[in-house]
Symmetry: D2
Subunit: 277 residues, 4 copies
């Protein structure tokens, strides 16, 4: 069970979300201090958009809590759009190429969840990736493969459709192998303009996904909170687990939802897996 | 709060203690699955005696649970005497030279605990190390320094005396800096012949230390336990936390105790910090 | 251009070949001190047979010259049969899962060379691997893939035939993609009983491979050499580059050769790539 | 023998100096392709000034040529003042805390060279560091210690004086231990405003140090060179080895020189080691 956070808004330093909040993403990496469900110590990554079209990606196969380089980057960099991830490995090696985010051109992609019975359908899923994308796969995770399947099925032209087809395809292959509930996922991705997120699972148990409310509304709820006073008005944060404990500040996305946050607006649409043509 | 285990007896593969027991040392590294008090993911080490006088030392600054090389060594090697350690860093860098065991000639040394206010007395303690030992200090932990202070104060000739003087000296320096309870420690060490351990703290709260009973007695308590049936009769295990949940198999060492396990016998003596001459 | 060494004979400590000779494998990792053709600093590995059927494998994605753990293992372990490798990456990530040796059951495999135009035929080669072997592939190198193709084509039953079919298959796929000389390789492999090696290339330039002569003959040539005096009489060493500079001690294997060294004898046979059925 | 580069001028991306030139710093890390004198594969670091007073520092104990994260940072970051370093270890461990630059407040510091007989005077030098600075020393190199001695002797108030006293002190201690030529060094350092450099050795053999000429003058020499056409007019580069092979573009600093480059000017002064008061 990994954890991730996505940010869209006026440029901030990633440390404001990754290090400073009580119960921050980095604090979540040593989960046992706050949680019952495990450590996220098998690697970390930050993908951020700066002044170039291509986002920067920093990944490291060590626990986030002890990574001094991550701390430095999160302190120095200012970015209006970034995704950060901490990993808990599920049967694939602890190595940089298995850390999120994964990148393709301007796109970055993070994932929390798993494909059930992945070892039984890994090969079949890999064969379905468009051969022109094959050499962009560097690691061995189900997550990276999901990204490349979505790219194969049209993500660049229509993110929602590409992701729905990916999910539909994985479920189809899974069902053929008698896997009842093949998918458990929350996804975060971006092309440098919008921040996208998905909450979905094949079965009834669905990993959580939360979206921050409007900063002004949150400020009205917590007028004495200093941190909020300098937080950008147009900020939109998507997280797998709420960061600070501010009741009313976070909205849980319903299961089977696709979220889009752009500079001006955010929108939720139903997420309906479907078979690729 | 680190964890460690020491073994003395007929040669076994370290995996029998480090990997196979339910609630094994490696399982303890992802502590949150079993514990409330934290992760031990900041490095690991194994020191083992083979056919040479000098013990082998394997150390790595990653979480033990994901270290495939440790698993291989613990599977291939057979040893009658070894110490293994998993680290939770306390304010010193996560790096190989800060991982236990520390080695000097035939000796290896592991530690669970801390020197309170170490950053205030680090320099003063370091100056007290015998200059001829100075270049053997590779890292920056309080643990490695405690070992070299004990060496300075006579560990090679009289382990108990060297360690008592080390503790007395650290307490003296600590008290001068108005640190009420300078030491919290369980120690494991060996010269390749005996396995030594100490349980001590300056204050009332003292980290745990457990010693296994005689294998035959444990077998009598658990006649149906298969693992025990092939465990050496003369085995003696010392641990900071009990490994398997076998009531009656583990004896808690009292606070302020020095333990010695040799091939034939084991002995407990009082541990009384004293000032070096 | 990687480097490797294989040993078969009475048990020795791997350090005798990896560290002690002038111009040892580890010295070769910082090649510039001795060579013109590059550094081998992208990882290392040792596979060794001990008292278990399954060999131990130690791999690390750092330069061999600075790996203290490798030094410890090579000092402590004694083994009658081992393969060691230092890596110079060719376009695949520097990570443990791309380090040699690769293992399957009792078998280990090392490789020096490359598949020309690998990125163009990687996918096609991967699809040819038997699906039952697919999940044993952890990394992304051509080397690991060659091993699994040979396994697919019968290596376990007939090592020479499996390897010839692998080479024939890779050449066939390469030629289809208009790659003139698809293969450049020296291979070392073992099942724990015999030590096998191959020297082959599709074109005229073929990486070197050397085999040691009989220890007694070498001793007769160098009666004053102390190191040789305690080297086992039945030792047989296969290397990609000669280790010490003893003229007359090393025999260069001809191109297109398959070597087998068993406890009693060693044999060379022609290596002739052929298409799998 | 390490290598380093310092930049002062209009903001550029560090990749323009570290990756893009033929014979760039990163190319120099696999030195054997261009040099005879060794590999610099024991770690790397980049210290850069952004919009904060405190510079960012990225350090990693792996070969620079394979560090994808360094490449990302050098591509994304823009900085008017930075220092980069690649390390060849001389008897101290390969670990992040031994990588340059070292930092104290706004200051960063890199070093190429060594203190002769360091293991014999390490302890004595360490004792001379001001106790208030002691806990800022994280690693075990002579380089980090030289920085903290210079800080002890007044670097913050007068960089030249602090460094001269450091060198004088090290030479004094060295001579007392019958070390004829204690120091070999080129230094680069900055406070975020000026870029400082030193070329000095106790003996006749002195490591090289080069400073770029004025960009306009270089452009006049090489009007057809595209890279130069977009290089800032006020850029000043200091390097341990010249980066591109542009005859006339680099001026070798004389031995025993202290250099200062500010926004408007650059200046060279004699460097004369002296004893601290």
């Amino acid at each position: 069970m990994c954890r991730w956070v996505g940010y869209h808004g006026a440029a901030i330093r990633p440390k404001e979300l990754l290090y400073e909040p009580e119960h921050s993403l980095i604090a979540q990496s040593t989960a046992s201090r706050f949680y019952e469900n495990g450590v996220n110590g098998d690697g970390l990554g930050l993908g951020w958009y700066g002044s170039l079209e291509t986002p920067g990606v920093y990944r490291n196969a060590t626990p986030a809590w002890g990574d001094e380089n991550l701390r430095e980057i999160c302190e120095q960099v200012e970015s209006p759009l970034f995704l950060a991830h901490i990993r808990a490995a599920t049967d694939t090696p602890v190595q940089g190429t298995n850390c999120h985010p994964f990148r393709y051109g301007r796109w970055i992609f993070v994932h929390n969840g798993f494909i059930e019975g992945f070892q039984h359908i890994h090969r079949e899923l890999l064969l379905a990736v468009d051969p022109s994308l094959f050499e962009n796969i560097e690691g061995s995770t189900d997550s990276e493969l999901m990204f490349h399947l979505a790219l194969t099925f049209g993500l660049l032209d229509d993110p929602l459709l590409g992701l729905e087809r990916m999910a539909g395809f994985v479920e189809e292959i899974g069902h053929r192998h008698e896997i009842t509930n093949p998918m458990q996922m929350t996804l975060g991705l971006s092309d440098g303009k919008s921040l996208y997120a998905v909450r979905y699972a094949s079965g009834k148990e669905v990993n959580t996904l939360f979206v921050s409310g409007k900063t002004d509304d949150i400020r009205a709820l917590y007028p004495e909170n200093e941190r909020l006073s300098h937080f950008p008005s147009n900020a939109r944060v998507v997280v797998s687990e709420p960061l600070p404990k501010l009741p009313g500040a976070w909205h849980e996305a319903p299961a089977s939802t696709f979220l889009v946050a752009t500079e001006d607006a955010s929108e939720a649409r139903p997420f309906r897996p479907r078979l690729p043509n």
